[in-house]
């Protein structure tokens, strides 16, 4: 991963409530990445961590909260108070983000949607009107997402590097295909990917690096492997609310661990609080 992500890159770690690539996000913090532009439809705890650890200079997003709990305090502190650094925002709707990923995967410079009309977001984001050349209707165009690096977590890879994920698959295929480089962490590497209902497969040749990261989506879940750690999300609010508590937590659980296994060991020892 150190070779594939550089300071200043545009990076999308995606996962729509499921298979969120926490382990990969932690690795970015360990490597001390800086000045990243982070893209994600639903930035939640791992983006709160990246922002609080000063890895980001800009966030491109459509909903930034702690799902079912409330605020992401590190995100808010960056936006409201510029701590630990000012955070530039490029805000979209979910539909706009989805269209931008679609366009990126399809190698088009923009996506088209019915949206962004009559609301205040239009004035604060990168969206432009586009006219249908047949009907004259005015629609909205959003610029394609073309991240430097796309990062997702999946259930499995085979030994040739083909990746399989199932359950809620979100925009994971799109982010891998839209990105110049892509990294996939997986729960396990298996000999063969047996077909599964609802599964998508990303062929090995669309991916630059595959790494095993068991329980690498924690505290989100991996369908068929483990459940969402709902308590973690609730307790995260207490860690995230305070700068010092947060920093101590990151130092101990992320900067102070070498990989996802050690992260889980430390977590089991001490609970979520620092």
């Amino acid at each position: 991963m150190a070779e594939l992500v550089s300071d200043g890159d545009v990076v999308a770690l995606e996962g729509f409530t499921h298979l969120i690539p926490h382990a990969a996000g932690h690795e970015l913090i360990r490597q001390g990445r800086r000045e990243l532009t982070l893209i994600r439809m639903t930035p939640d705890v791992v983006y709160d961590q990246l922002i609080g650890a000063r890895a980001a200079k800009k966030l491109v997003f459509s909903w930034g909260g702690n799902p079912g709990v409330g605020s992401l305090y590190r995100l808010r502190d960056a936006v409201e108070n510029g701590w630990p650094a000012a955070l530039e925002l490029e805000e979209h709707s979910h539909a706009g983000m989805a269209a931008a990923y679609w366009a990126g995967a399809a190698n088009l410079p923009f996506g088209t949607l019915r949206g962004y009309a009559d609301n205040d977001l239009t004035a604060h984001t990168t969206v432009r009107p586009i006219t249908c050349p047949f009907t004259g209707e005015e629609l909205a165009a959003v610029p394609a997402h073309r991240p430097d690096v796309g990062i997702v977590h999946a259930q499995r890879a085979d030994r040739r590097g083909n990746v399989q994920l199932w359950g809620i698959t979100g925009v994971q295929k799109e982010v891998v295909l839209a990105s110049a480089r892509s990294i996939v962490t997986v729960e396990e590497v298996v000999d063969e990917l047996e077909p599964r209902a609802g599964a998508i497969v990303l062929p090995s040749w669309t991916i630059d690096a595959v790494a095993a990261a068991p329980r690498g989506a924690h505290p989100s879940y991996a369908h068929g492997y483990y459940e969402r750690d709902n308590d973690f999300y609730v307790r995260w609010a207490d860690v995230s609310r305070d700068r010092e508590v947060f920093t101590a937590w990151i130092d101990r659980h992320v900067r102070g661990t070498k990989d996802v296994e050690e992260y889980h060991r430390v977590l089991a020892e001490g609970g979520v609080a620092a």
């Binding site: 459509s62 909260g65 409201e80 949206g115 009309a117 205040d120 809620i168 698959t169």
Partner: protein, 238 residues
């Protein structure tokens, strides 16, 4: 059958919203009260309601209330699971959804909603999570149902930010009563919940709330409704 059992304000809200769903309605639901209301409708008078969560699950049939819109049970019980790009392009923008539920931090008299910021956008006092699916839900579904506790901080004269437009808002269910748009599009109080005086609702509103002629009293939750609700939410409350 009248309910004599006590119930919470959230339960009253869920029941009032659920009753407005018709059997077979296709509902775009978020987590919390909307999910509770739609699942209650499915468990009672509207078993053929179709629940769609923006995470991509179409026709989800959760036995208990999901804690996140991406819970595994939603995918397991769904008729189909689609990508999020497909969900927003083919299903929401495709105008296949009858009912969309929205919440917000602020609402104005026209049903416009703010879930973006309190204070100026560039220097917010409070940075809220943002619109998510709301901007397009508000303009793509047939009927928008808003569920929101009523207070002068929330029901405001002027939004700090307009995240979504109110044109399709058909009902606002609050902890005090029910608001519906009149012919001029302005929300007025059409029902108060049991024990609530219309003046209480007016006091909890930042604009001069019009009370409809013949404002009714919302029927209290029935025992059956409460039993179904609590079955969905074993821990009691949302």
């Amino acid at each position: 059958m009248t309910a004599t059992a006590t119930y919470t304000a959230d339960e009253m809200m869920a029941v009032a919203a659920a009753r407005r769903l018709r059997d077979g309605d296709v509902c775009f639901v978020g987590i919390g009260l909307p999910s509770l209301a739609a699942n209650l409708a499915r468990a009672t008078h509207a078993p053929k309601c179709v629940l769609i969560y923006e995470s991509g699950t179409i026709g989800a049939k959760p036995a208990s209330l999901p804690l996140s819109i991406g819970d595994g049970e939603l995918a397991e019980t769904a008729d189909a699971v689609v990508s999020v790009t497909e969900m927003f392009a083919y299903w929401l923008q495709g105008e296949r959804i009858d009912i969309g539920f929205l919440g917000a931090a602020q609402i104005d008299r026209h049903g416009n909603l703010n879930s973006t910021v309190i204070g100026p956008y560039d220097h917010p006092k409070v940075r809220l999570p943002g619109g998510g699916g709301a901007p397009e839900i508000a303009r793509s579904v047939r009927d928008v149902f808003v569920m929101l506790r009523q207070s002068p901080r929330t029901f405001v004269e002027t939004l700090d930010f307009k995240t979504s437009v109110g044109d399709r808002v058909r009902v606002v269910v609050t902890d005090l009563g029910i608001l519906e748009p009149g012919g001029d599009g302005e929300l007025s109080l059409t029902s108060v919940h049991a024990g609530v005086d219309p003046d209480q609702a007016r006091a909890a509103t930042g604009w001069n709330l019009h009370v409809a002629d013949g404002v009714s009293v919302t029927a209290e939750p029935t025992g059956e409704e409460l039993a179904a609700l609590r079955q969905l939410e074993p821990r009691g409350g949302v």
